[in-house]
């Protein structure tokens, strides 16, 4: 139980895939102009990361070492196809809005990263938890960025109007540059916070 907590703390905060390891930002930025899109993308990624980590860990002792990358990619693509078909069947509008970015979950470095760094060495259950934690960390950052972008860009949150009609939308928030700036700000903030914590640890050790 303690290990599970530890994994969640690492995945969500200290080793957060986006600002801790700078992984998977390709898709982190593209879908963040609306909160709903980010949420769906995040859920899809949690599903794929968790289950592919689980599967990879399950067959890790049978996979020949030199073709393991190929095997991993195939497992990941199989789960991404499930997500794609599911979205097409039940949420066709969402599937259109996300466009190619659902397919691009395959090349999202987070999944491969977790598979290589964690699922190769750990038991299936723990790998599943680790996948969920990393996915949640990613979703959290997506939601943070899209919160600002949707609020200032459209004056809405999850499609509900927040600001009155007098509000002038910030056009720049809808455009790509804003995503870069916001992600940089988040990384900056997180770095300051994590550095302080490390310094405090060093001081208490000394």
């Amino acid at each position: 139980m303690k290990k599970v907590k530890e994994i969640f703390r690492m995945g969500l905060w200290e080793d957060n895939p986006v600002f801790g390891q700078i992984l998977g930002i390709c898709s982190a930025l593209a879908v963040t102009n609306l909160m709903l899109n980010s949420l769906i993308m995040g859920l899809g990624l949690i599903f794929v990361t968790a289950l592919s980590s689980f599967t990879i860990s399950l067959i890790r002792s049978f996979t020949p070492k030199h073709i393991r990358m190929m095997v991993q990619v195939l497992i990941i693509s199989a789960y991404v196809i499930i997500v794609d078909i599911f979205l097409k069947a039940y949420y066709p509008d969402m599937s259109k809005a996300l466009g190619p970015y659902v397919g691009l979950i395959i090349t999202n470095c987070i999944i491969m990263g977790r598979a290589e760094a964690f699922a190769q060495k750990n038991t299936p259950f723990i790998s599943l938890i680790d996948g969920v934690a990393s996915g949640l960390g990613y979703t959290m950052v997506l939601l943070m960025i899209s919160f600002v972008r949707e609020l200032l860009g459209f004056g809405t949150l999850f499609g509900y109007t927040i600001f009155s009609e007098n509000f002038t939308p910030w056009t720049i928030m809808v455009m790509p540059p804003a995503a870069f700036f916001l992600l940089a700000m988040i990384i900056w903030g997180a770095n300051i916070f994590l550095n302080k914590k490390e310094k405090r640890k060093e001081v208490s050790k000394a």
């Binding site: 930002i25 390709c26 982190a28 397919g103 790509p176 540059p177 940089a184 997180a190 770095n191």
Partner: protein, 196 residues
């Protein structure tokens, strides 16, 4: 849908719909391999070559095999396998016949398999229903646009190497801000042509 001239798509893919700056594709290697101009240029060339070939291969696979058989939903797996296979093949051919080029591009080739831009271009061309010539224009334009962006970024990063950047922003943080400013500059091109 209006038939777009392949050349218009080519220009648009370089400037207004730049892979990195407006579609956020290929960010991972964009941040990691943009410290120096020569390496950035090398990676850019490799990406352009691979993009040009794989999107044409994927175009034929999709039009001639997957669509007639009704297997469109398998496209992710098929595309990623064909990209990986092509990169592997290119690596072997280069090693055998053009060893010089192999040594300058070699280290980048494995990186390219997982570059989101390659798969992204193949998926975009399907979603936007491009015909063959449009696909060629789009893929080569995207590759050149990617090269342009990464080389420009590497140039800026070399300039600011000794600049006093705040502690927490060092590395990826400041790179993202530079990219943001570049994206802002590229928004200025948006009047030329627009594809969506």
């Amino acid at each position: 849908m209006i038939e777009l001239n392949p050349f218009v798509i080519f220009i648009a893919a370089i400037f207004t719909n730049n892979m990195i700056l407006s579609n956020f594709l290929g960010m991972c290697s964009f941040i990691a391999v943009s410290k120096e101009i020569p390496t950035a240029l090398g990676l850019g060339q490799a990406v352009t070559v691979v993009l040009g070939f794989t999107s044409i291969i994927n175009y034929f696979i999709y039009q001639k095999i997957l669509e007639p058989l009704g297997l469109e939903y398998l496209r992710f797996i098929v595309f990623i396998v064909s990209i990986a296979a092509f990169v592997q093949l290119l690596e072997m051919v280069l090693e055998k016949y053009l060893p010089n080029l192999y040594y300058s591009l070699g280290i980048f080739l494995p990186l390219i398999t997982v570059n989101c831009a390659i798969l992204g271009v193949s998926l975009f061309m399907i979603i936007r229903n491009y015909n063959f010539m449009q696909t060629v224009g789009f893929s080569i334009g995207s590759g050149l646009g990617w090269t342009l962006a990464i080389t420009a970024l590497a140039g800026i990063r070399q300039k600011i190497k000794n600049a006093p950047v705040p502690e927490g922003l060092k590395g990826p943080g400041i790179t993202l801000i530079i990219t943001g400013i570049m994206a802002l500059a590229f928004v200025g091109f948006s009047g030329i042509v627009q594809i969506q």
